[in-house]
Symmetry: C2
Subunit: 423 residues, 2 copies
């Protein structure tokens, strides 16, 4: 597989590499190299020449709620806890209906494909069947997903509250089934968040994590009312972060914690030690009045961070919007914290491609040995009226482009068509 | 003209009116009324039935820079003054080429139509011919524009700096020509901002304003470096606002001032007295690190405000994005000013429809005597999977919809096709 075009990617958080008219060469699922001149051994092989189009890494979204794709934009007059009660939980309850779930999942996977998110980590709902259906469909889609059945057995509406033992049994069943039947789709442990997961459930999940060496995803310190609630629920544990750690849920280098806004220095030190990935969700945090994660500070401290959509706290699954919102939000934060530097756009792009790609091995950059994942991006007719450098084309795509600008999508070495074209 | 659908509009800033399956009746360019049951006198007349689609007022954008439609997304690593020098002025200089300008204007008008902005007030460049071309094309487009040749005769690059007398003469020529030849397109006085407009030029423009009773648009207090600069340029005038007032450029009820972020109480009192419209441009103010206009405070003080795109400080002309950004930004502002209420989405919608509509007589709401301007909005297939109330459909359109959701556009009583379909 050889693609030619104006290649832009971020080998490092502070570095955008631009290679005009370069050749991206792959072998099977993997990138062999990026060359300005095609090496002799590839001459005579077919080259897909995209001309002056951009070739970018595809997006990875490490925090989204699959069922909430239906709720984008709904109910942002509320903050987190009442918003969950009034909008989120009733929608999630609908996924007891497997046929409804199947239809939504197909639309969701089509949509992720459309916006160029080819790798993702998703919360489903508590429903085992709905979770398995999404895993199966994701496997068939050509996309790469980490997918987790949600666990919740306390402080939850009747329609979603699980029995602790059943929650653990359902989870283990899915883990085993995924291992037996799926090749490209992983299971990720998904306690919703501390308030809705009992100590016994967290402990059981920690044990499953250890037994099957699984990744974990959850929420941490999104909203001050939530932080207070956790403190009341666990008066014996000093911080929210330590609750997860107490139950073995900060699995070393394998954990995604969404939001992580209101953290103490001690919590940050622990998160760094456990190499937890903090998913910054700027759209969600604005919509639900949660706050602004001090991303620049966290990066300077050496914490692992990424940018994620958090659909449907976030109002769109398009990572372009989350990337630019992260930059805009960092500038607004500076109004009251002038010492905080603004987030460079290249770093924001890294945090939505190369950074989170590590949850899939090596993905999100055009480096040898990385997965061959790419988007081909064309300017719209208005932008095409003037010549632009590739980095400016990237700026335009991120700031006002959309799926109409994406001419082709490659995932793991394959040109990937719309997963469910008949919808 | 009779349309049927789920009608939503904002008769007042704090009121969204929803009328399901209602009839919007127009006569010529004007709305006669909105009815739940078609009145007897209209029975037998053709009704265009849009089923469960939303019928919304079209958007009005009172602050955008026509040439900068090319620069959306470019150069946001800089703040206002260096950004103007490095990115904006070189692009504006290109519009000395009339043939280039004509091509860009056609794309611009197509794009505004596409995103549902059917009324607008635009800065052009200093070039008389380019300004006239946009006026002519806007007249032909079916959209309704206020269009201003920019005046700048100091602190400007050589390619754009005008001779004061020539700037005034060109301006007066356009004023007279527009009056003689155009019916639906108005001229608006457009001093760029105080730093680039000499006292003699401002005085001359003030005189033209008086003589021809013209509206005025400019920039006010966007960035702290700019505010300092104005103070140094006019040490004899106490505030930035009073500079404009001194030269007759705060024309009573006919002035748009963009940004208006860093204002003293005295300036606000004067702006209220002159009934100046303050154009809040939240995307631009984040992109260029300008600040957050205290919109809630300004509304509470009785100041006239609207929401505008400020392309290309703003990264998109889609008013949906500016509306939701205004809401998001108001929530982020609360983190440091907890007493400031968040901006309700309905109010934000009002500020992009009914509020700014007053610059075109009566427009932006479905009230008798108002201009018959409407967008027909359909949910995308994913959103369509669940039933939603019309207000929720509006939320979804504003938070993640785009031009693909707009099925039809009506301006001044006419179904309006893409202005330049051959592009």
């Amino acid at each position: 597989m050889i693609l030619k075009g104006n290649v832009v990617h971020t080998p490092a958080p502070d570095q955008a590499e631009v290679r005009e008219g370069a050749y991206l060469v792959g072998d099977g699922e993997t990138i062999v190299g990026l060359y300005d001149v095609l090496p002799p051994q590839y001459r005579g092989q077919p080259v897909t020449d995209y001309g002056s189009a951009l070739i970018l890494p595809a997006f990875t979204d490490l925090h989204l709620h699959a069922p909430q794709i239906l709720n984008r934009g709904i109910g942002y007059d509320l903050e987190l806890l009442p918003w969950l009660e009034r909008y989120t939980f009733p929608t999630e309850a609908l996924f007891a209906d497997l046929s409804f779930a199947e239809t939504v999942w197909k639309h969701l996977l089509n949509h992720l494909w459309e916006v160029g998110t080819l790798r993702f980590s998703a919360f489903v709902t508590v429903h085992k069947e709905a979770a398995w259906k999404l895993m199966e469909l994701s496997e068939a889609s050509g996309l790469r997903g980490l997918i987790g059945k949600v666990n919740m057995d306390r402080n939850s509406p009747d329609s979603l509250r699980e029995d602790t033992a059943a929650s653990l049994a359902d989870t283990e069943e899915l883990i085993c089934r995924a291992r037996a039947e799926l090749n490209h789709t992983g299971f990720i442990l998904t306690p919703r968040f501390v308030p809705s997961t009992s100590p016994a459930l967290m402990e059981g999940l920690g044990r499953l994590g250890e037994q099957y060496d699984l990744p974990v995803q959850s929420h941490l310190s999104e909203n001050l009312s939530e932080v207070d609630w956790v403190a009341r629920l666990h008066p014996d544990i000093p911080t929210y972060t330590e609750v997860y750690d107490r139950f073995g849920l900060l699995r070393q280098g394998k954990t995604i914690m969404a939001h992580a806004i209101h953290l103490s220095p001690g919590e940050k030190a622990l998160l760094k030690e456990r190499k937890v990935t903090l998913a910054h969700c700027p759209l969600s945090n604005a919509n639900l009045s949660s706050g602004i994660m001090p991303l620049a500070d966290n990066l300077a401290l050496g914490l692992d961070c990424c940018i994620a959509s958090d659909v449907a706290g976030g109002n769109t699954a398009a990572m372009t919007s989350s990337i630019t919102s992260a930059v805009q939000t960092s500038k607004l934060r500076r109004l009251n914290s002038p010492e905080a530097p603004p987030l460079p756009l290249a770093t924001a792009f890294y945090l939505a491609t190369h950074g989170p790609g590590r949850f899939f091995g090596r993905a999100g950059a055009f480096l040898p040995g990385y997965s061959f994942d790419a988007l081909v991006v064309e300017p719209d007719p208005l932008d095409a009226l003037v010549e632009r450098a590739p980095l400016e084309r990237l700026e335009q795509f991120l700031y006002h482009g959309d799926s109409r600008n994406i001419a082709a999508r490659y995932c793991a070495g394959a040109l990937t068509p719309r997963p469910f074209p008949s919808l």
